[in-house]
């Protein structure tokens, strides 16, 4: 009888498949727990002690957030700075800030923001990506949106825009009036501010440089 090739031998393929499947399963289970730990939300203590978390605690809305180029990581990262007033206050407790974010999250789902916008990579690209909307210079002191809405702060300008988007047509594709109340708008702006503080490894790539991806540019 001629020598049987290993390549046509069932045992070789069975052992290989067992090894690859078994090893991949272990790796994926490990990856699941590793990821869960890395994306777990931080808390107020972390913020006070300057502990860097991918997802900071809700009280991050009490702080100034900037977006700075990191030479080491090769992309921009959100940097949490000094205290900053948010709707006139910088002392939101963990419960208050958490409730605001929760209201904003529910609002974003009820109004179906993702039907047009992208949030953290999920949603549509019909309207600007909202992942880093809070850091968009258009809403800052030198941007057009504060003057346009007649407000003096970023959060008030954003809330005003959200309540009456059809009065401030910034895009050829105008945002419709979704009947957002003042309370909901405050929650939504808090939700957007918190989202911008999440370290997304530089996503969306080249934020602020893509024409049309950022409001008012």
């Amino acid at each position: 009888m001629a020598n049987k090739s290993v390549w046509s031998d069932n045992r070789f393929w069975r052992r290989t498949a067992t090894w690859v499947t078994g090893f991949a399963s272990v790796l994926l289970i490990w990856l699941t727990f590793d990821t869960s730990a890395q994306i777990a939300m931080g808390n107020d203590q972390d913020l006070q002690n300057k502990v860097t978390k991918r997802v900071p605690g809700p009280t991050v809305i009490n702080y100034k957030i900037t977006y700075e180029m990191s030479a080491k990581r090769g992309h921009e990262i959100p940097v949490i700075g000094e205290k900053e007033k948010f709707f006139g206050r910088d002392d939101y407790s963990e419960e208050e800030a958490g409730a605001l974010l929760h209201l904003g999250k529910l609002g974003s789902q009820a109004k179906n923001c993702m039907d047009c916008h992208t949030l953290l990579g999920n949603g549509a690209y019909f309207a600007p990506d909202l992942t880093k909307a809070w850091l968009d210079p258009a809403w800052g002191p030198d941007g057009a949106m504060q003057a346009l809405t007649g407000k003096n702060t970023k959060e008030e300008a954003m809330a005003e825009f959200l309540m009456h988007p059809d009065q401030y047509p910034t895009h050829a594709r105008m945002m419709p009036d979704l009947g957002i109340t003042a309370k909901e708008a405050k929650g939504l702006v808090a939700f957007l501010k918190h989202m911008s503080s999440i370290d997304t490894n530089g996503f969306p790539r080249n934020f602020g440089k893509i024409k049309g991806a950022v409001h008012g540019k």
Partner: protein, 50 residues
């Protein structure tokens, strides 16, 4: 080939994701090398059976 570690938190999976080849080298080491070992084991077994 091996870039300096730049992830937020040090982790095994962060290390795997640092350069274009790190994941490839890891998977080849862990999957292909044992396959070669299994191959020669099975080859020896088939030869002995004959």
């Amino acid at each position: 080939m091996f870039e300096p570690f730049t992830d937020v938190n040090p982790s095994f999976f962060g290390w795997l994701n640092q350069g274009p080849l790190t994941l490839t080298i890891f998977l080849h080491t862990i999957i292909i090398l044992p396959m070669i070992w299994i191959y020669f084991q099975e080859k020896k077994r088939l030869e002995n059976e004959n």
